[in-house]
Symmetry: C2
Subunit: 204 residues, 2 copies
């Protein structure tokens, strides 16, 4: 049988894993490269050979954050195939569950966008691209559920998401984030096509 691959991960992987942990917990701006390599059991040349710069290491960290987030997202959607309303709620349920983790500090991508207003920062580019994609995927879902104004509903859901991300690190425990799922449900209901007196002529 094939030997399990080398027990010790490569230096680049150790660095990325360690950096990801520190960046998420403390904010990437607060963590120095020296601390990263020290905790990773590696050295600075290894970091710079593999990633080029701290900013690119931050971008790499954010890419992994995005991959993990999409994995959870798709998992939630897969739990309720064919029912976009239930899919969205499953996603909010998944978020609520993850937010109970003690070390939860919101979305690493949103946090990075706050830390780096410079529109050219490689980390910010990753974050913005991800948020853009999330917005689009939410639109797909609200269109699939035949909402009256799918774009407005998708954006509203996104506000709830991002609001939950931020408040989960402002209040610990019983913060406003706990209201996200219920609010999402209410908004979806409000956008459902039924007998209604309101205008539902154009998508908003």
């Amino acid at each position: 049988m094939p030997q399990p691959p080398t027990v010790t991960p490569k230096a680049a992987d150790r660095i990325l894993n360690t950096a990801s942990d520190l960046f998420y917990r403390e904010g990437s701006r607060a963590v120095g490269v020296d601390e990263i390599v020290a905790r990773a059991g590696a050295t600075k040349p290894s970091l710079y050979r593999a990633f080029g710069s701290k900013d690119q290491l931050i971008a790499a960290y954010l890419e992994t954050q995005a991959v993990q987030l999409w994995s959870h997202f798709n998992e939630a959607l897969a739990s309720r195939p064919g029912d976009p309303r239930a899919q969205v709620l499953a996603w909010f349920d998944a978020l609520a569950e993850r937010m109970e983790a003690p070390a939860y500090r919101g979305c690493g991508l949103s946090n990075a966008a706050v830390e780096y207003p410079d529109p050219e920062h490689p980390g910010r580019l990753v974050a913005v691209a991800h948020k853009d994609r999330m917005r689009k995927r939410l639109r797909e879902l609200t269109r699939a559920m035949d909402a009256r104004k799918p774009r407005k509903l998708a954006d509203s859901l996104m506000l709830l998401m991002e609001g939950a991300f931020v408040t989960s690190q402002l209040f610990d425990g019983a913060g406003p984030a706990g209201a996200a799922r219920g609010a999402a449900e209410a908004l979806i209901t409000a956008h459902a096509r039924r007998a209604t007196g309101e205008n539902d002529n154009q998508e908003g």
Copy 2:
């Protein structure tokens, strides 16, 4: 008539004004004390005599942010006295207007909380206290409008607010933040007491 006081503001004021501008635009972590005093036409000893440390200067900046924000908040409420529903919507209108400013970068207090996870950072303390107070004031409003679940509604509104703050710096121009006011309206309507099949026994 009394002479207008000295034309040139004191060094401490110049420092605070300059720091506030830079902190908001670039993030307080990204701005060094040297740059602040240089742009303020002052010197470092003046900064440290007046504020003690950079962290306390950040706290002072956030205090002014909070003062300004409450000023706008109270102004919005004063525009529709006695009508809590209209007051909340006026507040969301005021937010929407401010978000159209080109240099808008969300809420300085929320941003600072993201930048400083350390629960003892003086800036974070200001931010958290402010957000706590905002949550309570929203609750007062939702109670005053006799919502079915005033706490849940207030928290939902807060999520929309914070979501708008964050997304306004992620997307420029036509971001999801534009959906905040409409979503707030929909949620308020959903929480209004009318003939309804849902349970409204206990406040949530």
